[in-house]
Symmetry: C2
Subunit: 493 residues, 2 copies
């Protein structure tokens, strides 16, 4: 494909994308295919000779679309939202063309620098404490990770490294592996599976703190576990980290970081805050109090690619001390060295190391795409106001759905509705609710996923698509209640 | 931005991208900016109100482009190539619009299924042993990771998990942390820094095997270290992995996997092959012998996003036993469960689990973009022949450069030229070569990075851009020799 053909095909693709998104609600939100459907639709091997673009493009509707769960359909209420906006798509086109690999400042200075400044922009929008910003002289700063799972892992590794160093400074002869084997990290029993996985990967044992009746961890609960462990002589272990969640995946519950934070600070425990979904809401002053206590944290992460209209992948992470995180990863092969890193620039103008740091020391992968472009495009084309409007609209739609549930006596709300997620269920058995969900998802008109709260099978209704409106919510509820009525008629409780 | 505006702006962006790539060689390959250049060019905060698209787009040339290292300029010879092609850009546009998060089969069946089939296509193109393919009944299969660093880490964690299980089966009471603290993994002393980093993250100690005069690890060298360690009673450790490199980063050297493989198999050591750069070349029959011995490996990885025209990120990894890798990660929260995973389908048609496996159990992140689309577009629009032509052209250009170096008596070739990388230097001191490189990169007409081989400072000339032609190579050499002449005149050796 030469440039001339790309110009033509690219414009056709722009129209295809526009048509797809414009008409997405006419498509069935969840696909009908059975596992293995795709293999028989395409050849078993790559073609020897080039095919035409027409051949390829006609297979989008024939092969791909029948197997798509349409996350951007306004009838999609499953999981959590994943962002999609036109400015982000445009920025990603540019990023694909530039196609730089931004593992160091020299590998493409704009890639590192725009990211640093965008994370400052976003940090200010969230009213993060100054310490988390890079500015021109700060010790902290932000970085884009691929996903919250990676951020969680990076935070755990940084906490592990800090604790190992601390212990080695008292006892330099002690083998590092021995120290690591004695580390322990805590999180809520509601924390995302990726927290446990981070422990598994980092070889750090995890302990879960029981959450309260609202699925939140209180300071008291953490203190109690710490004291029990100490009293029972169970602490040959070093508590290296507490991973707090703001907006848990099952029910969007919030740990009490104003209570937990001071305990962590006193005990020298790294506090990482995972606000993957909820974090976007903190740009609205009315939701910002949910982030109070962030000043006690060592690291903070959320996903603009969930709810801030920046397409996946864009998980933003801030730390108070860049050196903590760099220490956990740093390696310096010669092929990554560059003038501005090794020259006297650092000593002459120490502030510049904010810009010349190699971002590869902040993350698991070495390479990275130019992802800050889409933050830049989205923030500028929506403005803070436009982004706040988007958050507020989703929260209002969730409240609207909640109100509908509350007036139907057959149903109950299973967790406080704080942002865009409503957890609800039929009063009755888990089997009944599982049957209802099955009917909902089999009907294919809307799509939901379940969760478990205090042993109960619960349905999650998350407002997801950028284009979801009141009528979609109303329609969804009418559909759910109709299926519930049929179900209850067949299986009276 | 509404759909109508997106149609217009999208088409403008297609033209911008086409113009950028069509005229890229007129741009200075390496930027002039100093660290911190960008911050002062843009506001300190995100705008309150939306800006217009015109405002944003005019900043591309004002703010971004002055800080770009143009990886796709035909004058870029640094690092290794990163892929860029029109079909991949088109596929990524589509992927951005669909914007699904493919962490499980149900989250978008096409995303999981196309990936599985594309990895089979690519596996066949590489003539990988049948065991690495998923097919409809295989135990193996492939997955797209973000980067080779992630693949290396995943392989290390899978090897760690397998060894821990093996030891626990003999000694079930032994604490897992104790076992992990006694694990050791080997790699070449030429291996990429990410190998050492994987060990650091996974808490597994790494030992480096000395490479030979051609920078390759031979079986004998591995055997010697193993025997020394055993004889010295130094093996309370369990050797969990050997990470072999095909095409090292400094010099594109190849470990002898036909020698190393059988040793690993006999000793129960997991052999992972990292062929990040070189792997793409194995689609050409004349280079495929470099992969002989892959049949001994447990896992194999390379980056189509380097040299196979599939834009970043696309690092393909195959394993012989999916269960090895899934065991290292598996967690099953309820919100990720879906019908086809938990229903009787598995037991009724066991072959379907190839398609219903949740890819999140294969990788560090939970979420993932629909990345197989770009493989599909690229392979079909180039055909195997087109891709082979691309590889062969780059190798021929490297040979052309090598020949130019060899006829100039002032220079020497520092490592065998096998693929698209030429390592060369002026006969003389490291300081002299460092000075030459500095002049080359300061002149900004071409861009190179160095490496260190046997203590010598060496220049790396990697053929990178899709559009590099003979004239660019000739011009680069004329430029280098001119700078060398000036340098030698000023500092006669």
């Amino acid at each position: 494909m030469d440039t001339a053909e790309f110009r033509r095909r690219g414009k056709e693709m722009v129209d295809y994308v526009a048509d797809y998104l414009e008409n997405i609600e006419k498509r069935q939100v969840y696909p009908d295919v059975e596992p293995g459907y795709l293999r028989s639709l395409i050849p078993e091997e790559a073609p020897e000779q080039p095919e035409t673009y027409e051949d390829v493009v006609k297979d989008i509707e024939r092969v791909v679309m029948p197997g798509i769960t349409h996350w951007h359909s306004p009838y999609f209420f499953a999981y959590f939202p994943t962002a999609n906006s036109f400015p982000a798509i445009l920025a990603d086109m540019l990023s694909g063309a530039i196609g730089c690999v931004g593992f160091s400042w020299a590998a493409s200075p704009a890639c590192t620098e725009l990211e640093t400044v965008m994370l400052d922009w976003l940090g200010k929008m969230l009213n993060l404490p100054e310490e988390f910003l890079a500015g021109t002289k700060g010790k902290g700063g932000g970085v884009i990770q691929g996903t919250a799972s990676e951020a969680t892992l990076v935070a755990l590794l940084a906490a592990r490294c800090r604790m190992v160093k601390r212990i080695l400074s008292d006892d330099p002869e002690r083998p590092e592996a021995d120290i690591i084997s004695k580390l322990v990290a805590y999180s809520s029993d509601q924390a995302h599976s990726s927290v446990e996985r981070a422990g598994l990967i980092g070889g750090v044992r995890m302990r879960k703190i029981p959450s309260d009746s609202k699925f939140s961890v209180r300071g008291e609960a953490l203190r109690k576990v710490l004291e029990e462990d100490k009293a029972a002589g169970l602490i040959p272990f070093y508590v290296s980290q507490f991973c707090a969640t703001l907006g848990t995946t099952p029910s969007c519950a919030f740990d009490y970081i104003t209570e937990i934070g001071p305990i962590c600070n006193t005990e020298g425990i790294w506090m990482h805050i995972d606000a993957a979904y909820a974090g976007s809401a903190f740009i609205c002053p009315e939701f910002r109090p949910l982030l109070d206590g962030v000043e006690f944290a060592d690291s903070f992460n959320f996903n603009p690619h969930k709810w801030l209209l920046v397409n996946f992948d864009c998980s933003t992470m801030w730390v108070k001390n860049r050196t903590d995180i760099i220490a956990a990863f740093k390696m310096d092969p010669l092929y990554l060295k560059h003038d501005h890193q090794e020259s006297g620039i650092h000593t002459l103008h120490t502030h510049t190391h904010t810009h010349t740091h190699s971002i590869c020391h902040w993350q698991i992968p070495l390479g990275r795409r130019f992802r800050s472009l889409k933050i830049w495009f989205v923030f500028r084309m929506y403005g803070l106001r436009g982004l706040q409007d988007h958050i507020r609209k989703h929260v209002a739609l969730a409240k609207e759905f909640e109100a509908l549930v509350r007036v139907d006596e057959r149903f109950q709300i299973s967790a406080e509705v704080v942002l865009g997620l409503v957890c609800f269920r039929l009063k009755g058995s888990n089997d009944l609710n599982e049957a209802l969900l099955k009917r909902i998802n089999s009907a294919r008109r809307i799509h939901l996923v379940p969760c478990q709260l205090s042993g109960r099978f619960v349905l999650r209704f998350a407002v997801c698509a950028r284009t979801t409106e009141s009528r979609h919510v109303q329609e969804a509820w009418a559909h759910i209640t109709q299926l519930a009525t049929e179900l209850l008629r067949q299986f009276p409780q």
